[in-house]
Amino acid sequence: MFLTDADLQAIWLTVKLAGIVTLILFVVGTPVAWWLAHTRSKWKGPIGAVVALPLVLPPSVLGFYLLLAMGPHGPVGQFTAWLGVHPLPFTFWGLVLASVFYSFPFMVQPVQNAFEAIGDRPLEVAATLRASPLDTFFSVALPLALPGFLTAGILTFAHTVGEFGVVLMIGGNIPGVTRVASVQIYDHVEALEYMDAHRLAGVMLVFSFIVLLALYAWRPSPKKGA
């Protein structure tokens, strides 16, 4: 086999993590994007800035805060203890939560841009035809914003695959649980196993290129005129 079982396990774990995070962010990110696209509230600026924070913050800042917050003395840690569930650091779901924060702007911003590009007019027309707001959202806004959702989904997935610093800080490097592909490569390099590092790094390189190629080449062209 070209890749070792441990490498395949790391790749599968990475894909699983990125897939789940993308699904969660579709659900969580869309309302936030909708609100940001339509609100006239004075909170639009501050909330938009908070959403964009992970674009700017070093992953170590996020990893540090999350490790303390999810630990036994942190607020999230106390909450999980109160629920009687396992503390989140060193677990797969801990990584999911961290990645949801880490990839948030990659979902919200393209969707928000797509909603803003639609403008108010199609929604107003739908309203005059007595469509309920929910109906308008699903029958008018969602189909029109589909290219934005596609971009957002691909970017979120790809960005989660590329995560490293946060995972290293809160993951604990457990095989099959938190040892994702990027960490596995790091371990290979530190153990001077350059050939193994090469194989997995090559797979990641090809994967990333294909994702971006798909994004640039096959992105549906925006609808012309109304």
Binding site: L67, L68, M70, G71, P72, H73, H86, P87, P89, F90, L168, G172, N173, I174, D187, V189, E190, A191, L192
Partner: protein
């Protein structure tokens, strides 16, 4: 004209000053964090004009970086095997000098670890046990050996979380995210961790010796400061610091 002359003189003096100030960068295994900070501070007192920078990390990482030409002048490894390899590859400008033997301990933030033994790790209240990554961190390798020698590896492995280096491992325990960990005695003895309860010294017959060694790298061949610092490692004050942090020095017997 006078101004120009002044400037010229000032510039020459400044340039001469630059030429004389020496600078070294030290790559040191993470277990040395607190001991090396003190040693460097001691050295600076006697040599205030010298510039010394220390970078801490896992020995395996530094090994890779040095093979790729990293700008380190001295390399203090937690495993003497790494600098030996570098010397063999012609990347050292000094002999490989053993400077200490390390010890591993059980340490916890939530319970008094001095009352524990390795067997206690199978207790259900220790849901997570932190060790350094045995793949490339020497302290992690020794931790694995000790667990295997005690026939506990199979039972403990599912609870293990792996730190990137030994200081990262200690941080997992310090934040309470792992209830207990196997860390370097040198870290458990530093004031920031020592007041958090005791430690259990893991018998050193359970693992291979943690023989640590350093080299002056090829790059620092003509660097007098690197040689002076290497010599300072044999100084009485330096040896006292190392002993205080639980390192056994070459030529001494295990005191504890």
């Amino acid at each position: 004209m006078k101004l120009l002359k002044t400037l010229l003189v000032a510039g020459t003096v400044f340039a001469a000053g630059l030429a004389h100030a020496e600078k070294i960068t030290i790559a040191a295994a993470a277990d040395l964090k607190f001991a090396m900070d003190e040693i460097v501070a001691g050295f600076r007192k006697g040599n205030p004009s010298d510039e010394i920078e220390v970078i801490y990390g896992s020995s395996g990482k530094f090994q890779t970086q040095l093979q790729q030409g990293a700008p380190y002048d001295l390399f203090f490894s937690a495993d003497i095997g790494y600098p030996r390899e570098l010397a063999k590859a012609g990347l050292a400008s000094s002999d490989v000098k053993p400077y200490a033997f390390g010890r591993i301990v059980l340490w916890s933030q939530s319970v008094d670890a001095s009352k524990l033994t390795l067997e206690s790790l199978s207790d259900a209240k220790f849901a997570r046990v932190a060790i350094a990554n045995p793949k490339h961190a020497p302290y992690g390798k020794r931790a694995e050996e000790a667990l295997r020698a005690s026939k506990l590896w199979g039972k403990i492995e599912p609870k293990l979380v792996y730190g990137e280096n030994i200081a990262h491992t200690a941080q997992f325990v310090q934040t309470g995210n792992a209830q207990v960990g196997i860390i370097a005695l040198a870290l458990a003895l530093n004031p920031a961790l020592a007041d958090k309860g005791g430690y259990y010294l893991i018998p050193d017959n359970l693992h291979e010796p943690l023989e640590q060694g350093f080299i002056i790298t090829k790059r620092a061949e003509g660097n007098a400061l690197a040689k002076r610092f290497a010599a300072y490692m044999g100084d009485k004050a330096t040896r006292a610091v190392m002993t205080r942090y639980g390192f056994v020095l070459p030529g001494e017997t295990v005191g504890k």
